[in-house]
């Protein structure tokens, strides 16, 4: 298992490093002079030269890249061109909000998606299955900002039950989480259904039934567990997507998340904000991917056996069986 973790950690570092180099290089091609961003409308030639000197913008590419990576390793993400303040505190201030939307959205989406997907697969072609298929198609195809505005219209302006914007109390979170949750549940429902349909036709499920196990145990223990790998992949992909991609939902509900911060950086050509913001989101994504890889190892016996997790126990068990068989036929 340790070998597996180390291998994943090495992949994580390589991915991050490649991302930093790629993004830094990409930002080199973005047209525009950062000095103009700093100085605004009243920029003069004299001031532009001074800003170039201050920000060391005239240094060669490789020098700036090395300096950026060096600073990043020390936790320094640089300063915003626009505000001239450190970027890291601004990112960390926004992280909990994005995490709240992403995590709770995915929890809600997973709960709904798993239940609906399993029931839909078990009751294939029933009325329930068809209704769920329709709802999940609607959820997957409806744009998030439209769903968000629809919720605001109904639950804020018409019914007056929930606040329209903000992130201060549990009530404030209901609509943003419901928007993300509904969207996530659609994909998870589809994936759970198709994955379960594949699994419940397998021989081992039939064997379990033949052994007289309850329907619940057959479906959950033998069916869902084996169908869970692709579902987990979808969940992981969704979380990664939501870490930086809930911009529209954040805008409608006025939640200052990571996505909006980076988007503002793009609009104002604040290169360090864009660069560090995207690197930070990538870092979060690699952590989520790493955790997912760990979860695979617990769920998928093939990964366990490949990396020796639980091998000792298997060998011990094999030894006992061999001893038992020494005395006669099995």
């Amino acid at each position: 298992m340790l070998r597996y973790i180390i291998k994943r950690l090495i992949y994580m570092v390589i991915t991050l490093l490649a991302t930093v180099v790629f993004l830094f290089t990409l930002m080199e091609f973005v047209p525009g002079d950062p000095a103009l961003v700093v100085l605004g409308e009243g920029a003069t030639e004299e001031n532009i030269v001074a800003i170039h000197k201050e920000l060391k913008l005239d240094d060669p590419y490789i020098v700036r890249l090395t300096r950026y990576i060096g600073n990043l390793i020390q936790g320094d993400m640089g300063n915003s061109y626009k505000t001239r303040q450190p970027i890291a505190p601004a990112l960390f201030a926004r992280l909990p909000l994005t995490m709240t939307i992403a995590v709770w959205g995915i929890i809600v989406g997973t709960i709904i998606g798993l239940i609906a997907g399993v029931v839909s697969a078990v009751k294939q072609y029933s009325l329930f299955d068809r209704i769920l298929t329709f709802i999940s198609l609607f959820g997957a195809s409806a744009p998030s900002f439209w769903l968000a505005m629809l919720f605001v219209l109904i639950f804020t302006l018409k019914l007056g039950w929930l606040p329209a914007t903000g992130s201060y109390t549990l009530k404030h979170w209901i609509l943003p989480v419901a928007t993300i949750g509904l969207q996530a549940s659609a994909t998870i429902t589809r994936m759970t259904r198709s994955s379960m349909l594949e699994v419940i036709r397998q021989d081992y499920v039939r064997t379990a039934r033949a052994k007289g196990q309850t329907q619940f145990k057959v479906v959950i223990s033998h069916g869902l567990r084996n169908a869970f790998i692709p579902i987990l992949t979808v969940i992981c992909t969704r979380i990664n997507g939501y870490l930086g991609g809930t911009v529209l939902v954040e805008s409608v509900f006025a939640i200052p998340g990571l996505g909006n911060y980076v988007l503002d950086g793009v609009k104002t050509m604040d290169t360090p904000v864009v660069l560090s913001g995207v690197v930070f989101i990538c870092f979060m994504c690699t952590i989520v991917t790493f955790l997912t890889d760990m979860a695979y190892a617990f769920i998928d016996p093939r990964i366990k056996s490949t990396y020796g997790f639980g091998v000792k126990r298997a060998r011990k068990r094999a030894g006992l069986v061999a001893k038992a068989t020494e005395g006669g036929n099995v």
Partner: protein, 536 residues
């Protein structure tokens, strides 16, 4: 089975813990990592409470703003939205009255020792929010520091340096005469910070160095989310601010701001979608406060870029555009279709001159004729650049695209993000663009000053008329306001005569204000709101 369920539960709990753990870090209810202003030495207690939801609280004004300041440094940003927040903490030497007159504020007056040396006397009863005295040292430091680190403040461009004459007198040395400098210094970009707080706080413009003479002081800032202010107990004006606390929410989406205005959860909402104004106004308990400001939206014609370098093409374009229909379509009855080069009540405005050049209005046949004379009998391809996030200007560009097609002008709409667009225009790569200028000194000078050699704004019209520059300098050096007004009129006429720009819309400002709120008004010069005069 057990393992699977345990793993799922464990993962869920772990994620929940991470989320709530992070959310709890900042000690606020929802947003963490925010800045709590440090209690100023000798100052009062800092407010620790979260965001208030009680609109009935007479001690707290609940406001929605559409700008995230990100930092609280005097003059850090030239956006009106930024200064609308930061101006509550820091103040200017002079202030513009609602009638557009310059009145001393932190200053008591000024004299011109020479045409390039302004001597300003300061009030001796002003204290910063940390209890320290406001002196000439702070004024000189603020201006010199802004110039040293090249803050984006064009009002200081004419100033060479500031020097302390005595503790309550400061002198500003200028590169060239600028008789409207006092009006420039009214601008909320020209607020004064505390030198002592800067040095002691090591330039921490999020907390420790945020010390001003303004009616309010910073209590808490959650990036992108909210700003909490409370009354400065050392404030020099008796009886102000009238409301002790301000809770400002930052809502950038104008649709969401309009929704909040309709919920009646806020006392003042700035930044609501103009298309929702009528709907908001129809709701009991809230009304729209609308006011004309000093800003005009223009179609800027780049005289240095072919084929716009041909005056006949520019004039043809002016004839092909239907200004009144464009404004009606884009803004409805909000604001006014342009009737002069600068907005109403601005010194240097002359409607007769406007009529002379643009009075003929929308005339497709003349436009076609002019194009033919310019060598384009079969029409011409042009491009208009507009900021993609400004939906109303995008609508305006599309309306104009349809109008000019009748005259044989094939207009391509080029939508760009704000910053890349600024650079694109600054380099003079465009043919036509939509842009607004504010006459923030309440004289045409506030707008003409931006069109001087070396400026990014001048590149937008590619204008190189030496007579225009000389005339402007003459106006800037003229002390007599009547004579100066005449010169500004002449400068405006030059711009119109050469068809460098087509004024389209005189901008209005709007805010949704609860009926129980009194004292709210829009300061015309730089779209400013002074919360210290507001009561509820």
């Amino acid at each position: 089975m057990k393992k699977f369920v345990s793993l799922s539960l464990a993962l869920t709990m772990l994620l929940s813990l991470i989320t709530f753990g992070l959310a709890g870090c900042g000690g606020s209810t929802g947003t963490s990592g925010g800045t709590e202003a440090t209690a100023p030495a000798g100052g009062g207690e800092t407010q620790q409470s979260g965001f208030s939801f009680d609109t009935g609280d007479p001690d707290t004004l609940k406001v929605i703003q559409n700008f995230d300041p990100e930092v609280f440094q005097p003059g850090n940003n030239d956006e009106q939205g930024y200064n609308r927040i930061v101006r509550q903490i820091y103040e200017t030497l002079f202030m513009m009255t609602p009638e557009g007159e310059v009145t001393p504020w932190l200053a008591t007056g000024y004299t011109w020792e020479t045409p390039t040396r302004m001597v300003i006397t300061l009030r001796d009863d002003v204290k910063f929010s940390d209890g320290s005295d406001f002196t000439a040292e702070d004024v000189a430091w603020t201006i010199n520091y802004a110039k040293e680190i090249a803050l984006p403040n064009s009002h200081y461009n004419v100033i060479t340096d500031a020097e302390v004459v005595d503790p309550y007198t400061v002198a500003l040395n200028l590169k060239e005469p600028c008789m409207t400098l006092a009006a420039h210094l009214c601008n909320s970009q020209c607020t004064i910070g505390s030198k002592k707080a800067f040095e002691e706080g090591k330039g921490d413009w999020m907390s420790a160095s945020v010390v001003g003479t303004g009616p309010y002081k910073l209590v808490k800032y959650n990036p992108g989310d909210m700003v909490q202010l409370t009354a400065n107990e050392h404030y020099w004006r008796q009886g102000e601010p009238k409301v002790k606390n301000i809770d400002m929410r930052i809502v950038k989406s104008n649709e969401s701001a309009a929704t909040e205005a309709k919920t009646l959860n806020y006392d003042i909402v700035i930044g609501a979608n103009t298309r929702e104004f009528a709907a908001i106004d129809a709701i009991d308990g809230v009304h729209m406060n609308e006011h004309m400001c000093a800003n005009t939206t223009y179609l800027l014609l780049n005289t240095a870029k072919a084929p716009m370098d041909n005056i006949k093409v520019r004039e043809a374009f002016a004839r092909a555009v239907n200004v009144a229909a464009t404004v009606k379509l884009t803004y409805g009855d909000f604001g006014q279709p342009a009737s002069a080069l600068v907005a109403p009540n601005i010194l240097g405005r002359n409607e007769a001159t406007y009529q002379k050049y643009y009075g003929a209005g929308h005339d497709v046949e003349t436009a076609k004729k002019l194009l033919a004379e310019a060598g384009f009998p079969n029409g011409v391809d042009l491009e208009i650049t507009v900021e993609s996030t400004d939906t109303q200007r995008c609508d305006m560009a599309e309306a104009i695209q349809a109008q000019v097609a009748a005259a044989g002008i094939n207009l391509k709409v080029n939508k760009m993000e704000s910053a890349p667009m600024r650079e694109y225009l600054g380099r003079g790569n465009h043919q036509i663009c939509i842009y607004g200028f504010t006459s923030l000194t309440m004289e045409a000078d506030g707008f003409l000053a931006q069109l001087q050699p070396g400026s990014a704004a001048l590149a937008r019209i590619g204008y190189d008329n030496q007579n225009f520059f000389k005339k402007y300098s003459e106006g800037a050096a003229t002390e007599d306001i009547t004579a100066r007004g005449k010169i500004w009129e002449e400068c405006c006429e030059m711009l119109m005569q050469d068809y460098t720009m087509i004024p389209v819309w005189h901008k209005a400002l709007g805010a949704a204000v609860r009926d129980n709120v009194e004292g709210f008004y829009w300061a015309t010069d730089y779209e400013q709101v002074y919360y210290q005069f507001i009561s509820k």
